[in-house]
């Protein structure tokens, strides 16, 4: 690896000051499963690496009646091993338990997954459908960014050079709601999505109609894609094969996949439709209290 300086601030204030001074020549280090690999490959060459794992605000996991707050450097394993998250936000368990293998999950963070902005990121579609907000800070102030507006291109986000992602906050799940994430890969683990899909649904009191829905898809566009129209098409509709297929087709039509070593355009379009149908069906099951 190239030569760089390392520091491990133990306050957010100190980290904000360091980022204000060093800007693009500094990088925040959470789990290192992207940054260290990219530095070794000489694709990132920061002069200063700021360890984000000693900053209380970035390592805190809070869950209460208002919702969930996940510090940017909290590891995937900490998230999916949390019983309260498994109970109230099972779609986050779907996502975080799929990132790499056990070794990677022990280090890789949700903030890193978001800031790395891979089109195939496993946690981003789930955060999008759960209505997660990325809370960002710099010495110029704070910003709240909806996750669906966070990624702008492969590996690129709306973050300015001096900004720090502090945490992501997710509202408490509404009554009669459920969410699900699925991805397709040729093996069961340790792979990158050919396509993925996440859905959140809220049902009416009868449990027979959609009150609202949110759908997001991944690995089929330059960024994970929140498909507002696909979810909106379900508003007020009965839960049926027809309504679910219709939403899945809208999601597929929003996809702009490429051909690469992992899959073809045709395969990805088919996958995104199938996965969206499945996540919607599973989200409905979770909304009515069935285990998925």
């Amino acid at each position: 690896m190239h030569d760089f300086e390392y520091c491990a601030p133990d306050s957010l204030k100190e980290a904000i000051g360091l980022m204000a001074t060093h800007k693009s020549s500094a990088r925040l280090l959470a789990g290192g499963t992207d940054l260290i690999v990219l530095m070794r490959a000489r694709r990132k060459r920061p002069e200063l690496v700021i360890d984000a794992k000693h900053i209380p605000e970035l390592t805190e996991l809070k869950i209460n009646q208002e919702g969930l707050s996940i510090g940017a450097s909290v590891s995937c394993r900490t998230i999916y091993e949390n019983d309260q998250i498994a109970e109230s936000y099972p779609a986050l368990v779907d996502s975080t338990s799929l990132v790499g293998g056990i070794q990677v999950q022990g280090r890789a963070s949700i903030g890193g997954n978001l800031c790395n902005a891979a089109p195939s990121a496993d946690s981003i579609p789930t955060l999008m459908v759960l209505g997660a907000i990325a809370n960002v800070v710099s010495d110029r102030g704070e910003r709240q960014i909806p996750v669906e507006e966070f990624c702008v291109a492969p590996g690129q986000t709306v973050l300015e050079d001096d900004e720090i992602l502090v945490n992501v906050t997710v509202p408490a799940p509404a009554a009669n709601s459920g969410a699900r994430f699925l991805r397709f890969i040729p093996r069961n683990e340790m792979d990158i999505a050919v396509a993925n899909s996440a859905a959140y649904v809220e049902l009416d009191e009868t449990g027979k109609n959609f009150r609202s829905a949110r759908i997001a898809i991944g690995a089929v566009a330059p960024t994970p894609l929140f498909v507002e129209d696909a979810g909106a098409a379900l508003t007020g509709k009965p839960i049926s094969e027809e309504s679910i297929l219709n939403a899945a087709v809208i999601a597929r039509d929003a996809a702009r996949p490429i051909n690469d070593m992992r899959g073809t355009v045709e395969h990805r379009l088919q996958l995104v439709e199938t996965l969206t149908k499945r996540v919607l069906n599973d989200a409905v099951k979770r909304a009515i209290g069935e285990k998925v």
């Binding site: 760089f4 260290i36 530095m39 056990i102 990677v104 069961n188």
Partner: protein
């Protein structure tokens, strides 16, 4: 060159201090500074698990950890598995069941399997296969490895 930092850790239950540059991975420190060469370098990018160590109770790839990040942490490597000249039940089972061929992945598998048994003393075959997905072996086809871990878990549960 960036200044070397003085890092204090506990490795295999012994206090260990070392000097390292920020750019040295924990894997490089273990092998090249501390001469704990049991931990292997495979892919050096977090895919193969040959460099697996347990850091503060969490299984990690030491190639994806900076040496400087280890300050204050407790690390377990393959060298710490046997005690007083006695092989660990996992090591015995790997020998008896031929859970290895060329051997380069073996330390990583041993440490990953130890982390699994620490958490789940009687894992099922499926749980073992899922847990070991981050460790690659190009020789055995995995069956013998999985059987070795099952045998070790059984023998440890009997004690």
């Amino acid at each position: 060159m960036s200044k070397r930092s003085h890092i204090t850790t506990t490795i295999n239950n012994e206090s260990v201090d070392f000097l390292c540059e920020p750019r040295q991975s924990l894997l490089e420190v273990l092998r090249d500074v501390l001469y704990l060469t049991g931990t292997k370098e495979g892919c050096n990018d977090g895919n193969c698990g040959a460099c697996s160590v347990i850091m503060d109770g969490v299984l990690v790839d030491s190639c994806c950890v900076l040496g400087v990040e280890a300050e204050g942490s407790k690390i377990e490597t393959v060298e710490g598995l046997s005690s007083k000249g006695e092989l660990h039940p996992l090591q015995k089972a790997f020998l008896e069941q031929t859970g290895m061929q060329c051997g380069i992945c073996t330390p990583g598998f041993l440490i990953a399997a130890k982390a699994l048994i620490d958490k789940n003393p009687r894992p099922s075959e499926q749980e073992i296969r899922h847990w070991l997905a981050g460790n690659l072996c190009r020789c055995t086809g995995y069956d013998k490895l999985v059987r070795s871990v099952m045998t070790a878990a059984e023998s440890m549960a009997e004690v």
